[in-house]
């Protein structure tokens, strides 16, 4: 067990050098850029670099306080960034943290095991997959440094408890102060799992000493002194954090985290949060734990066992029982991480013994070599995990976006990045412009964000409908947040933006598309700042960094102190671990039989996993697999599943797929496939399925019937039909009226010239109505663009109370045609929605339980009755998104359930593909006034000069409750040719088709606008 001349072990210096070489190379090569958290820490570093003593950051969440996260590491980045820049500063601090961690493992191990084992432990830390994952996949910085510091403090604590050496007490407290400065949670919980066992063992040792009573009391007193000082340090170093935390407690809907999942059910989560961190250590973990639990190391052994158990997340009910409410708040992967670190001393013992036996036996040598190779392979796999499975979008150069924000005073408005992943923090570090989003969810306070289980709006689609619902509130009511620009790196969100009146401005050279919402008020010149009192800011700016500096001095001082004591402790430990039967135990422990067995099991499992094709090869399984292949773009595999008798050639099949576009084919993600019915007899039949898609607009279902046939013992899908329409003209020509608005005609940084600001087009609200449907308030109506210029309209609805105060304000979203041609009449719909609170928390839980209703909206919670309403229409000149599609062959039919379905042919006579046609259908009463407005995005694109047949299920008018309340309309309409639109509705009569037998509805009007993917 101990080192001996014949059993060499790697010196600590070698491990540190390896750390520098391996992790240093990886970090310098930029692995941190693809991690989850690295850019967040860099952003915080940028904050302190810009203003050291500021505790308020305006760039995220409309402002948040930075005392919500301990600043130690961030301030180090800030300091270094002044010399080497932000990214290099992060690399230096991260690498320093790793060196501290490896040293910490070495020093902590010294308390529990012998010199050789502690050296092996340090080496194992260098190639540990949990450390590699934490650094190169998760991008964790504060937790790494904090844990390193905590481990470095353990020998000081041990010495203080055993000897009462007050210098070591000071060193321990200084080091733990630095731990707190970097990551207070590590001090809080880490103390329990790392320092607790140290204290426990000292007390146990004291109990076993000849002078039990005095020794135990002394140890307890010293532990009490240490505990008191630790708590005082914990409170003092980050005092502003505690004060903020108590005055503004975090109350958010828990954000789902896969570390809380059932790893047997969610195997991907199991791999990432359990399999990879443990890695090859699993092979020796049982043995290591056995070593730990024997002798007097059992306190740490128990700690490891508990950590490992908590790290299993929701696989067993035990972590939830133990952690109770904290289970839904904590990310449980940290327990696994701590377990893999805490076990290293004992893993070092096992490796030491394996190395010793390798000198004597070739088979053991081979097993050892296999173990070593497995460690290296697992390490390489882990650091390259993002290559195997992309966890972040491709790198986005933030410079063009920062330039865009800086020019023409674009930073006077807020922006929202979409599809950036964690790189949004890197973008934020490049600009002083502000965003409603952010990448540090604990600091969020906007109700729209904290009430939904969405970590970031930027990645809303990964949180399903609650995420998209949260994003929807922001893009529907951008005025509320002064939100004018969206930088989209993911076309998934295009339909949502288009439907809510956003339009594309340009594509930047980094490929990011800039979307803009017209008519948004700029931010005030001075933003509200909620800085803490000066004394707290000074404390925040000084104490954490002072703590880190003190720890550096303390540990340097420790190095200068004699090592004789260490040696004595190590000798004592050797006696404890060896025991009288040490030699026999060693032989028993290091037997490589278990290693071979584990390898064999691994090989069998691996072979089985690679050869297993999912089992069921029946007809329905083929249908499932076909959809899966299509969803992931595996067209070759999908084509293989088609009936060769009816299938087109592979080339024809892929070609036909390539021309399909639209909401479902181009912007949706298959959520699940539901088998409705399978009618199969004698080797053929039909399978009815419902494909459930998620789009940024809404959940979407597609019902399909697939022919299935058995050919040569294999089930295949029948293929019927090809591209449906052939355009009338081979070469179509079209004359159009096009528009361009130069904006500033002069190239200048000055304020816009008066002459460059165009008049607002005159728009007039023809009629409006306040209705409720299923408890939700709506204002529906129609307006006309009276002007000769096309108009980009903004419709604002307000519900008013008895004294005229606005009870709720919302904007026209889906259902509103936002870009209006000169002389055109279009419908609008303002759908009032409440800011989600408790209701959405329940929704989050329901969704996890699989019962989430995508149609669910949060109702307004009004403090008083609505007595009237206002609707305001204003417009700016636009030249975008003005194409209209042709509606023909319209016929209305009653459905069997008494509702009304409208069938129509929608034709695209333009020269661009109508990627997402959007039909707004107004139900009109006998006076031509709007009763209701339905919005129907079409599922498929309509290519130029082609048509599509569609059916719209109209809203049943009996489900609508007209509020019969008076309303006021504010618009810019006026007298034209002596006629006002009010005294003669004939200014623009609504083009509508009469229908009968549908309640109050006597006509329907259809306007089909379109989003065109290729048109900016």
């Amino acid at each position: 067990m101990d080192s001996s001349p014949t059993h060499p072990s790697p010196p600590l210096a070698a491990s540190l050098c390896l750390t520098l070489v391996i992790h240093g190379s990886l970090l310098i090569s930029g692995t941190f850029r693809g991690t989850y958290d690295a850019y967040v820490h860099i952003f915080f570093g940028d904050h302190y670099a810009r203003d050291w003593f500021s505790t308020w950051e305006t760039r995220w969440y409309t402002g948040f306080t930075t005392v919500s996260y301990p600043p130690g590491t961030h301030q180090l980045i800030a300091l270094l960034s002044k010399v080497v820049g932000l990214e290099a500063a992060f690399v230096i601090v991260q690498l320093s943290g790793l060196l501290i961690l490896v040293t910490g493992v070495y020093r902590m191990a010294g308390i529990w095991v012998g010199p050789a084992a502690r050296r092996w432990a340090a080496l194992l830390a260098v190639v540990s997959t949990s450390v590699a994952e934490a650094i190169h996949v998760f991008g964790q910085l504060p937790t790494i440094i904090a844990l390193g510091l905590l481990l470095n403090a353990t020998p000081f604590v041990d010495r203080w408890l055993r000897t009462g050496d007050r210098a070591t007490l000071v060193m321990a407290i200084a080091t733990l102060a630095a731990t707190t400065a970097c990551h207070h949670v590590t001090t809080l919980f880490g103390s329990v799992f790392f320092l607790g066992p140290v204290i426990a063992r000292v007390i146990v040792d004291a109990w076993r000493s000849p002078d039990t009573g005095r020794c135990v009391i002394t140890s307890l007193l010293r532990a009490a002194v240490f505990g008191g000082l630790l708590i005082a340090t914990l409170v003092t170093v980050v005092l502003p954090y505690w004060l903020w935390s108590s005055s503004d407690p975090i109350s958010q809907v828990p954000i789902p985290h896969d570390s809380r999942a059932d790893f047997l059910d969610n195997t991907n989560a199991g791999l990432v949060f359990w399999g990879i961190p443990w890695g090859v250590l699993l092979m020796i973990s049982v043995k290591s734990l056995f070593v730990a639990l024997r002798g007097r190391c059992w306190p740490l052994g128990l700690s490891i066992a508990l950590l490992a158990l908590l790290g299993t997340g929701g696989t067993t009910p035990i972590p939830r029982l133990l952690l109770r409410g904290a289970f839904d708040i904590l990310t449980l992967d940290r327990f696994t991480f701590w377990a893999t670190i805490a076990i290293l001393p004992f893993a070092g013992v096992v490796v030491e013994r394996l190395a010793a036996r390798s000198m004597e036996s070739r088979r053991t040598l081979a097993a050892s070599a296999l173990f070593g190779l497995a460690m290296i392979a697992a390490f390489i796999f882990t650091v390259n995990l993002s290559q195997f499975r992309q966890i972040q979008p491709d790198h986005v150069d933030p410079a063009p976006i920062a330039d865009f924000l800086a020019k023409d005073q674009h930073d006077r408005w807020r922006y929202l990045p979409l599809g950036f992943g964690d790189q949004m923090a890197w973008l934020s570090a490049h600009t002083t412009a502000t965003t409603v989003d952010g990448n540090y969810h604990s600091a969020r306070r906007l109700p729209e964000l904290v009430s939904r289980p969405v970590e970031r709006l930027e990645g809303a689609k990964f949180r399903g409908m609650p995420g998209l619902g949260s994003l929807d509130q922001f893009v529907t009511t951008p005025e509320r947040y002064n939100l004018k620009f969206v930088f989209s790196n993911d076309t998934f969100y295009d339909p949502l933006l288009f439907a809510n009146g956003w339009h594309r401005v340009e594509t930047l050279i980094n490929g990011v598309v800039v979307w803009e919402r017209a008519d948004i008020t700029p931010l005030p010149d001075t933003l509200p700042v909620s800085e803490l009192p000066a004394w707290q800011r000074i404390l925040w700016g000084i104490l954490p960094l002072a703590a880190v500096t003190s720890a550096a001095f303390a540990n340097a001082a420790a190095l200068l102190r004699t090592r004789e004591h260490d040696r004595g402790v190590v000798l004592a430990r050797r006696q404890i671990l060896h025991g009288p039967d040490g030699a026999t135990l060693r032989q028993r422990l290091v037997s490589p039989t278990w290693l071979r067995a584990l390898c064999a099991v691994g090989i069998v499992v691996g072979v089985a996993a690679t050869t297993w094709d999912g089992g069921d090869s029946g007809a329905t399984a083929q249908v499932y697999d076909y959809y899966d292949d299509i969803d992931f773009g595996r067209l070759d595999a999908a084509w293989e599943r088609l009936d060769p008798h009816t299938a087109p050639s592979l080339e024809q099949f892929t070609l036909e797929r390539s021309v399909r576009d639209g909401l479902v084919d181009g912007y949706a993600k298959l959520d699940r496939l539901e088998l409705v019915d399978a009618r199969i007899e004698n080797g053929s039949g039909e399978v009815d399925v419902v494909a459930h898609y998620v789009t940024s607009l809404t959940a979407w279902t597609v019902e399909e019937t697939h022919i299935v046939v058995e050919r040569d013992g294999q089930w295949r899908l029948g293929w019927v039909g090809t591209e449906s329409a052939i355009p009338v003209e081979q070469f179509a020509r079209q004359t159009v009226v096009d528009y361009v608005d130069h904006g500033r005609r002069r190239v200048t940084t000055e304020t816009s010239d008066y002459g460059d600001i165009l008049d607002r087009p005159r728009v007039s609200v023809l009629d409006s109505r306040l209705v409720t449907r299923a408890g939700q308030w709506f204002i529906v109506g129609q307006l006309t663009n009276l002007d000769v210029d096309p108009a980009d309209i903004t419709v604002t609805g307000r519900l008013l109370g008895a004294d005229g105060t606005a009870l709720a304000t919302y904007h026209g979203g889906e259902g509103t045609v936002h870009k209006v041609l000169p002389g055109e009449t279009v419908p609008f719909r303002v759908a009032f929605e409440g800011v989600a609170t408790v209701a959405m928390a329940n929704v989050a839980q329901d969704q996890e339980a699989g019962v989430f209703d995508p149609e669910l909206v949060v109702q307004l919670e009004l403090t008083e009755d609505v007595v009237s309403y206002e609707v305001e229409a204003k417009a700016l000149v636009t030249g975008r998104n003005l194409d209209r599609l042709v509606v023909s062959n319209v016929s209305a039919e009653h459905t069997p359930d008494g509702a009304m379905a409208l069938s129509a042919t929608i034709s695209n006579r333009g020269t661009e593909t109508a990627t997402i046609p959007m039909a707004s259908i107004s139900l009109l009463d006998g006076n031509g006034e709007v009763l209701w407005v339905d919005a129907f995005p079409l599922s498929t694109a309509i290519r130029s000069q082609r048509s599509a047949e569609v059916t719209f299920d109209l809203t049943d008018p009996t489900t609508l409750d007209s509020a019969d309340l008076s309303g006021l309309a504010f618009d810019s309409g006026g007298t034209i040719n002596g006629r006002t639109e009010q005294d003669s509705r004939s200014f623009e009569s609504v083009v509508a088709m009469s229908i009968q037998g549908f309640g109050e509805v006597e006509a329907v009007a259809i306007t089909v606008s379109t989003f065109e993917r290729g048109v900016g």
Binding site: I707, G721, S888
Partner: protein, 436 residues
């Protein structure tokens, strides 16, 4: 003895470490606070300081003129009971405060305020000791007309719409000129083609620093230029910038439409062009390009709406023929006006076709052969064939749908092409692979 040494060493170490920690904290604090102060100073924040305290002699009177013109130098006379000394004099206006030192000689002092101090019209307060006098600075002659504001800049040429020009004449220092300054506004409005443009000149006067004029639109669409001229007391004309506004056409007065053909085949593919005559508003202004209108029709395939825009004064849309025979009638709606009604007759576009069902192994194969139009040619490629829920297209007069056994529709379901339905005939069963 050794215990004492160990204890002494321990105490010494503790003190050293503790001292180092204290030093660290203090040094960090000093450096940080120092950096803060330096950075604050560098960034322009004021560091608190106190005014110099001076033992000033008491001032008895300040003599200044009651009123001067902007930019005129002014002399301030100060008297004091003390024969000598230095008096601090402050000149305060809405723009801030300037301080001067005046040396007394024989109880009097004189301060000549430079023109730069009197450039801004308004009240200038002169303070020395406890005495304050006020000096009124009035604007000087008009020297410039700041770009006039005209809005709205698009009005309807209907003889009723209005726009407003607001003019701000200023003196050479940018002060708004005195009330009553004459300002001339010239409106150059468009006129009918071939006639001289209409020029309207209005003279107005400034009130509270500005003048304005309201223009009523003419009846001819086109650009209108607004020019402004201010006049000095010497009769010198000061020209302002010209501003362009647009007088645009109003609503359409009458719509007459026609179709490019009055009959055709109902093949779902032929194009019919619907075009209006040139469209004018009530005052014979040609309608603005981009104005939207709708061709609303009802035909054998149902109701339909085609949106189109006015281009070069003409509204036109292209209509695809229906795929069922019958009469299509429609009209254009634009600006609420409804055009004349037109009708187009559509004949059946298919004379006949054969549909054959056959069994190929377990598969059912539907084959359409020789689908001809009334002229005897194949129906157009791309014409849709509908068999229950399955569809395909004609190519070279033929089409095929192949279904495995058990798939609907029933083999007796009719086949529809361009509104013509035929029930398929059953052919003999062929062995697997015999079909192409």
């Amino acid at each position: 003895m050794s215990a004492r040494i160990v204890r002494a060493r321990t105490t010494s170490s503790t003190l050293v470490v503790a001292a180092m920690l204290v030093v660290t904290v203090v040094v960090t604090a000093v450096v940080a606070v120092g950096a803060w102060i330096v950075l604050s100073a560098v960034s322009g924040d004021r560091v608190a300081s106190h005014d110099d305290a001076t033992a000033a002699p008491s001032v008895s009177t300040i003599l200044v003129p009651a009123e001067i013109e902007a930019g005129e130098p002014v002399s301030v006379a100060i008297t004091s009971e003390m024969a000598s000394g230095i008096v601090e004099v402050h000149a305060t206006s809405g723009l801030g405060r300037l301080s001067f030192r005046v040396r007394l000689s024989n109880g009097t002092g004189r301060l000549d305020l430079p023109p730069a101090v009197t450039q801004h019209a308004g009240v200038l307060s002169i303070t020395a000791g406890d005495v304050t006098e006020q000096l009124s600075i009035v604007p000087s002659e008009v020297a410039e007309v700041v770009a006039p504001l005209v809005g709205p800049r698009t009005i309807v040429a209907d003889g009723a719409d209005t726009t407003l020009a607001v003019i701000f004449p200023v003196d050479r220092f940018g002060n708004q000129v005195a009330n009553g300054t004459n300002v001339v506004v010239e409106w150059q409005q468009p006129s009918a083609q071939g006639t001289t443009e209409q020029l309207t000149t209005v003279t107005t006067q400034t009130t509270d620093g500005m003048a304005f004029d309201l223009l009523t639109s003419g009846e001819v669409a086109g650009p209108t230029i607004a020019r402004t001229i201010a006049t000095t007391q010497d009769g010198e004309q000061i020209n302002g910038a010209a501003i362009r506004i647009d007088e645009v056409p109003g609503t359409v007065s009458d719509i007459e439409i026609s179709a490019s053909a009055l009959s055709g085949f109902a093949d779902g593919r032929a194009l019919i062009e619907i075009e209006s005559t040139e469209l004018f508003d009530t005052f014979d202004n040609r309608l603005a390009d981009g104005t939207v209108g709708h061709f609303v029709f009802d035909g054998p395939s149902g109701f339909g709406v085609v949106a189109g825009t006015v281009q070069n004064g003409v509204f036109s849309v292209e209509l695809v023929s229906p795929d069922k025979p019958g009469t299509l009638t429609g009209h254009v709606e634009l600006h609420g006006r409804v055009s004349n009604e037109i009708s187009v007759e559509f004949e059946s576009a298919i004379s006949g076709f054969e549909a054959t069902l056959s069994q190929v192994g377990t598969d059912t194969v539907l084959r359409i052969d020789v689908a001809l139009d009334p002229t005897g040619a194949f129906v157009a490629d791309g014409t849709e064939v509908v068999w229950g829920e399955y569809r395909t297209q004609i190519r070279l007069g033929a089409a095929e749908i192949r279904l495995p056994a058990g798939a609907s529709p029933e083999s007796t379901a009719p086949i529809e092409i361009l509104g013509t339905e035929v029930r398929p005939m059953r052919a003999e069963q062929r062995p697997m692979g015999a079909s192409q």
